[in-house]
């Protein structure tokens, strides 16, 4: 088999495994099992990002999704119940709404340009200018860094502020640092 076919096969298999994992997370009642399955889900999506050549996103997903989130969820579980409260197994209203939304999204994505097509509108709008003028205008050799840190620098600063605030809030709630004594 040519490598392109195998690469496609890897991508499809990874997405299928992700679907199975997501279904299991939705169905399980044990919250510890759900936390562990979320770790597997993050590893799978990190692998998908690598296959799609988004290596920097894959780094973030592996460190945050598979690493820190699992620990934070376990830290939360230690302060709550480990079992989900039993509810009705299947509610037709939300299920129909979700199924309708899936169909709507599938229909909306049917006329979307082919994956990574160079003639797609997203690749023709501002991307050529970033690629051609980026090194001269910003002085940053890596184009991804140039866009994140220079062209949309204020946006990134806002994101970092939000994440920093959220991190402080989580640490204050969970006390992972061990500085505060609980009596």
């Amino acid at each position: 088999m040519p490598p392109a076919v195998i690469e496609h096969l890897i991508l499809v298999s990874l997405l299928a495994l992700m679907t199975v994992t997501a279904g299991a997370i939705a169905l399980t009642r044990s919250l510890f099992a759900a936390a562990m399955l979320f770790g597997i889900f993050s590893l799978l999506s990190a692998a998908v990002f690598v296959v799609l050549d988004a290596v920097d996103v894959a780094f973030t997903e592996a460190a945050v999704g598979a690493g820190i989130s699992t620990i934070l969820m376990l830290a939360t579980l230690a302060r709550t119940n480990a079992r989900q409260r039993a509810g009705p197994r299947l509610r037709p209203g939300p299920l129909a709404l979700a199924a309708g939304l899936v169909l709507l999204l599938a229909w909306a994505s049917s006329d979307r340009p082919r994956f990574a097509a160079p003639e797609a509108p997203a690749n023709l709008h501002v991307a050529p200018r970033y690629l051609q003028e980026g090194p001269r205008e910003t002085g940053v050799p890596n184009v991804v860094t140039a866009v994140l840190a220079s062209y949309r620098g204020y946006d990134t600063l806002g994101e970092v502020t939000v994440i920093f605030t959220a991190g402080i809030g989580v640490l204050a709630l969970l006390g992972l640092g061990g500085g505060a004594r609980r009596d």
């Binding site: 490598p3 495994l17 597997i40 990190a46 692998a47 592996a62 690493g67 830290a75 500085g179």
Partner: protein, 91 residues
């Protein structure tokens, strides 16, 4: 050859996922997640050689480190219930 190895790793991922889904104990699931992380490392390394860009091997190495630290952190959490614990059980 690399492609066949990648498909074999994917099959192993499926089997590991079944173990993570069925449990039955917590440690089965922890071990399944750990094995799954190792398989992800292998898959990323094989994908690097498959697309003839083995320099992505660095990422696989980083994943291996994260996987190890993550598993140790989860197990430490089960043992002490607190990540700030120093390991001594005196207090």
């Amino acid at each position: 050859m690399t492609g066949a190895a990648a498909l074999a790793v994917l099959a192993a991922m499926g089997i590991t996922l079944i173990r993570a889904l069925r449990g039955p104990t917590l440690y089965d699931r922890v071990l399944a997640v750990n094995s799954f992380g190792t398989l992800t490392v292998l898959l990323i390394a094989l994908h690097g050689f498959l697309t003839e860009r083995p320099e992505f091997l660095d990422i696989a190495l980083l994943y291996a480190l994260i996987n190890f630290i993550g598993t140790v952190a989860v197990l430490k959490f089960f043992e002490y219930g607190d990540l700030g614990a120093t390991g001594s059980t005196e207090d």
